[in-house]
Amino acid sequence: MTTDLADNDVQEPAVPPSPVTDHGPSGLVRAHLVIASVFLVVATLLLAAASIELAVPGAYSGIVLFSYGRLVPIATAALLYGWLTIGLIGAIYYILPRLTSGPLRHEGAALVALILVTVGVATGMASIYLGASEGRAYQEMPLWSDVLLLAGFVLVAWVATATVAHRRDRLGPAEWYLVAATWWLVLISVVGTLPGVGGYAGEIQSSFYRAGLTGLWFAAAGVGVVYYLIPRLAGADPIQPSAVSVLGFWSLAFVWAATGPRDLIYGAGPDWLETLGVAASIALVVPVAVIVTDFVLEMRGRWLQIPDRVTLRFLVAGGAMLAIVPLADIVATTRTSSAIVQFTGWVAANDALMFLGAVSMWLFAFAYHVLGTGASPAREQVATWHYRYTMVGLGLVLVSVWLGAALAGFTWASGANSGLFVDTGAGFFNTAARLKPYLGVAAIGMAVYALAQGLFVVGAFSPVARSGPELPAVDAEPIDLEIEGGVATVRWGQLRWGAVSLFLIVGTMMWFLPSLDPAIASSTILADESRIYPAGSAEARGRAVYLREGCAVCHTQEVRAVVPDVGLGPVSVAGDYVHEDPIQRGYRRLGPDLMHLGSREGSNSYEFLFAHLADPRVERPWSFMPAYSYLSDADLDALAVYLTSLK
């Protein structure tokens, strides 16, 4: 708290200042928002194109960019690293100086970081398009892009830390989350950038990376933004540090990355690790409950303001979505329900809830808040329609994908009983035909969502507002979130060491210890020798094509000991994967599992596969696989050879 409140305002009682939200952002913050928005538009358009491809198979036959396996990783990179990450970094640059009553330190470094991250994401997307995919979910971008991003993130962490560093202690919840998130982003990115471990241990590493990125970066930074915004938007008193918010922070830190192994339920990894992932997913309820409770308490008595303020609408919608996240995740986590919904679209819908939903909603609120939507009624109107279309689009996507996932899961689970699943063709015919309407609704929803983002660009950046009433120049309004009190105070040093050591503990547990597990450690003895692909062999080239085309986006290579997988061949063990790096386990079955494709009657011949890849709908009219007619004959040949070798 400084004195400028009195200095600026006391003298002008006659003209109460216009009810603008806040003074404008710096050029740096604005640049972040502009670049992030460009990525948002690109990402949502590509996602819409991908959804349409599922609903209208062969819609873009033969166009490389629109081949589903490339499209989805490119769109994901744009959404996660372009839109959300750059947007959140901009928010951090905006918020931290205001909370700590100091300037943003090292603005030059911040600018360099922005360039590094932007170039990193853009080259990463281009590389995937050009066929340099690394073939790990969320980590498809090649090494050089990862390195650029990591360098940028290090600078971001440095800037954020230096900005709050003069505050030796008593940081408030918003700063805890925002500063710790920048460090975690660096640490997580190191995990993601390190050349992967081979075999199943690499899959464990990947799952840890995904969960860490989701929780320790997107959720943590997003929550920091929310903790800053709610009091200002709702007109409530700032969220006070308390024993409860301390608990919320540390439980989020400890629990979220540890939920990673739930992706691997029923997989070839150690069972204890999966159990730990399930327990962490259950425990995730705690930090989310704290955050949502804080949210509700701040809003108490102010709910009626929501319809009047588009910023509040976005903020509250995002909060509601965050509240659903752990519940939706638990369905994908407990072994009983996981046996049904694993490899369906359930997890994709949960990701949409988190990324297109909660965190995006908060960023929208932030962007409108700092760009001063309220300054112009026309702009507020546009923003309101943006909100409506975004919610309708997202609602359609979520409901259709969740319902479709449940339908597919139960179809697979019952397919084994009825003998349908043994012939995967028939099993998937069954699923594919029944999923059609759901995929159609999802495509419509995603298209609506993508088009709504055009309104966002207009609403947030249109010149209408800049020509609107001049925003009063008010100095940075430091607002302190601290109160005095034993447990409520988090000392700077505690935060620093706690946040980093906690990450290392969780990381060791999730990532390093599993590779010592006998099941993984002894896997070389039980290794599947048929999966050694000598360099230069047709199989090795075919595997490279498999990675490049993103086949793992739609096909798994893992057979689990559960009912839906009966008839798919031997259950996968760690030894099956030991010679591969990265393994192509996959995470979603939009097409059949390919683990033992070469042993499968009816679809294991080279001729069938070659023709099927070139045009899937000749043999199987119900297929929604893209046609790989754009591949050279040599590539198709290698791919078919590789697939027949999967025994």
Binding site: M1, T2, T3, L5, A6, D9, V10, P13, P16, P17, P19, T100, S101, R168, P231, R232, L233, A234, G235, A236, D237, P238, Q240, S242, A243, V244, Y266, D271, T275, L276, A279, I282, A283, V286, A289, T293, G301, R302, R335, T336, A339, A416, N417, G419, V474, E477, E482, I483, E484, G485, G486, V487, A488, V559, A561, V562, V563, V566, V571, V573
Partner: protein, 348 residues
């Protein structure tokens, strides 16, 4: 507050509701209480920061040195007055006031003021007294810049809530619902219990888990047979057949009804272990087709109500329903019953 608004409205000519609205917007943008903004517009000294936030667990008087607060009665003065009124040493007064304030969840100053018999300027507005450190909110003047921003304990932002919402509950504990505390206990306990209960995943047959054939490596039923065949299926099929054809007379849980009860081992008294074939024969023929006047090991008289199922169900189905009855109601071992009823071969 109304009074303030009216005064500003009168002096500026701006309608009162607009003053109110813009003040709230201003307060929100600045993150300060509405009253503070209004007071400044009205050109008056801000009364001691009204409505302290829900007090911290310990208002920590030691760490909150009373900053110069020209407008309000400082805490030291309050302590002195209270000590005088109570006839106690000042340090003791301070300490006990702190304890009382903590217990009642109100500000120390409110307690002190009560003891000293003083009306606090803002006491009527909010249940809580001045914030733990009413320094700057009460002092529009410059604040010791040397100490800021590290050391100065900021006045916690007072809630701007009184205007539209009822005063927040003064007790800190009540900010969070008790349910949350329960959650903090239940969830971790549940997670730990879960880890302890199934460290290595569910047993075969639960949560969708299947067994793995050691030779082929394929997922198989828990009995080692290909999934969908073998005992699991026989038992389940028997259960469904029983519900369909038998439960109406013998009860859903075999408790009996028109027909005799089977539960609790009764069925095995009539058809003991090793006599599955008699059991099957009885179900197949029914009482009308039964050649003898009595049936079963206990020589029960043939009562006449049992219909013959030979024409309705196949031999295997009858064997399955018998298997179900013997295992579910008689408590016979599944594998034994299966062998006895000849279902192992039937499953191939």
């Amino acid at each position: 507050m109304e009074e303030l608004i009216q005064r500003i409205a009168a002096s500026t000519g701006v309608p009162a509701d607009m003053v109110d609205r813009s003040a709230q917007a201003r307060a929100q943008a600045l993150g300060v209480p509405v009253e503070q903004v209004l007071a400044q517009w009205a050109g008056e000294e801000v009364p001691t920061a009204q409505a302290a936030p829900p007090a911290a667990p310990a208002p920590a008087p030691a760490e909150a040195p009373p900053a110069p607060a020209p407008a309000a009665i400082s805490k030291d003065e309050l302590i002195a007055k209270a000590a005088e009124a109570k006839g106690m040493p000042a340090s003791l007064v301070e300490r006990s006031a702190g304890a009382r304030a903590k217990k009642e969840g109100i500000a120390v100053e409110a307690v002190l003021a009560e003891w000293a018999g003083i009306e606090l300027p803002a006491a009527g507005v909010a249940p809580a007294g001045p914030a733990p450190a009413p320094a700057e909110a009460a002092a529009p003047g410059p604040v010791a810049p040397t100490e800021a921003p590290v050391e100065v304990i900021e006045p916690a932002e007072a809630p701007a809530a009184e205007a539209e919402a009822p005063a927040p509950e003064p007790k800190k504990a009540s900010r969070y619902p008790a349910l949350l505390a329960a959650l903090f206990v239940i969830i971790p306990v549940f997670a730990v219990v879960y880890i302890a209960a199934v460290p290595n995943g569910p047993a075969c047959g639960s949560a969708g888990q299947l067994a793995i054939d050691p030779v082929t490596g394929e997922a198989v039923g828990c009995d080692g047979n290909p999934y969908g065949q073998g005992t699991v299926d026989n038992f389940t099929a028997g259960e469904m057949l029983f519900a369909e054809s038998c439960a109406i007379c013998h009860g859903n849980a075999g408790e009996g009804g028109v027909g005799p009860g089977m539960a609790g081992g009764a069925v095995l008294q009539t058809f003991p272990e090793g006599s599955c074939s008699s059991h099957v024969e009885w179900v197949t023929l029914g009482s009308a087709g039964w050649p003898d006047p009595t049936y079963g090991a206990t020589s029960k008289p043939v009562a006449g109500g049992m219909p013959p199922f030979g024409g309705q169900l196949t031999d295997q189905q009858i064997a399955q329903v018998v298997l179900y009855e013997r295992v579910a109601f008689g408590g016979e071992d599944l594998a034994t019953a299966e062998t006895d009823c000849g279902l192992v071969e039937a499953a191939g």
